[in-house]
């Protein structure tokens, strides 16, 4: 039963990951990344950490991928009319690299963990109370630093993406640089 669930989730994850990598339309890629992440969340449940599964669905598919979709709509990224990927020699080289890397890593995993079994599941080890105690006990410093990192990221993202930042007005190759600069200047004064 568990094997069937695992096999189903694994096949869904791999197929939708391939769709993410190969589809021309970025919206389709993003939506199939959602499928991959949800099936990975199912694997997290199988591995006995439902908290992380909920977090994965909330954070990744609820927040990050919505951000992706938002930017795709905002930038009006067309589906690629030319070839999806770069030069074919590079594709072949990257494919060989990926296959070799996968083989090496799988070989290592097999050597190290082929006989490994699950540790006896402590029913409290993945409960919310235990996770919260660890998070606010032993991991309190990384937790606070993550908060700081998110604050810095929000400030940096909004500064980088704002209109009329100094990096723009002194770039000569922008086609509409004078008009944009004047509009920025007037916008800044008003």
């Amino acid at each position: 039963m568990l094997v069937a669930v695992f096999a189903t989730l694994a096949v869904i994850a791999i197929v939708s990951a391939i769709v993410v990598v190969l589809h021309r339309n970025p919206v389709f890629s993003t939506m199939s990344l959602v499928v991959t992440l949800v099936s990975t969340a199912g694997l997290f449940v199988l591995l006995g950490s439902p908290f992380l599964a909920a977090l994965q669905i909330l954070l990744y598919t609820g927040a990050i991928l919505v951000l992706f979709l938002f930017v795709i709509m905002l930038l009006n990224v067309q589906r690629e009319r030319t070839a999806v990927t770069r030069a074919s020699g590079m594709v072949i080289a990257a494919g060989i690299c990926a296959v070799v890397l996968a083989g090496a890593v799988i070989r290592l995993f097999w050597a190290a963990y082929s006989g490994a079994t699950f540790a006896p599941q402590n029913p409290e080890s993945s409960s919310l109370v235990t996770i919260a105690r660890e998070l606010f006990g032993a991991y309190i410093l990384p937790f606070e630093m993550i908060g700081l990192l998110l604050l810095v990221a929000v400030v940096a993202a909004s500064w980088v993406a704002q209109k009329g930042d100094p990096a723009k007005s002194d770039t000569p190759e922008a086609p509409d640089a004078p008009a944009a600069a004047s509009s920025v200047a007037s916008g800044g004064k008003s």
């Binding site: 094997v3 990598v21 994965q56 992706f68 993550i146 929000v154 980088v160 086609p175």
Partner: protein
């Protein structure tokens, strides 16, 4: 009967390599970013599997922090894409070669 832990690790390795292939070969910046998210997700899967093997919750904590870092990375990266698009009107990385030579 439970699934042997090594199958989770193999699945994660396969997902990681699919993501690496995409990050190396796609032309659109958004697609490269999606491939990077795929690789991050595969690494999270290995961490949860290790946590289950060793009966230690440190792996789950690492995944928690990795999720937060992924959120920060997505925010900054997409902000950069918006900025680049405003400058160059494209995010095709074959045409964003100003720093290459």
């Amino acid at each position: 009967m439970t699934v042997p832990i090594v199958w989770y690790l193999i699945l994660a390795a396969v997902l990681f390599c699919i993501g690496a292939f995409g990050a190396l070969t796609r032309r659109s910046g958004i697609a490269i970013f999606l491939s990077i998210e795929l690789m991050l997700n595969a690494a999270n899967l290995t961490l949860v599997a290790y946590s289950r093997v060793h009966g230690d919750s440190a792996g789950q904590m690492f995944v928690f922090f990795a999720l937060a870092v992924a959120a920060a990375e997505a925010a900054v990266g997409l902000g950069l894409f918006i900025s680049i698009y405003r400058l160059r009107h494209t995010i095709d990385i074959n045409r964003l070669n100003r720093l290459r030579w």
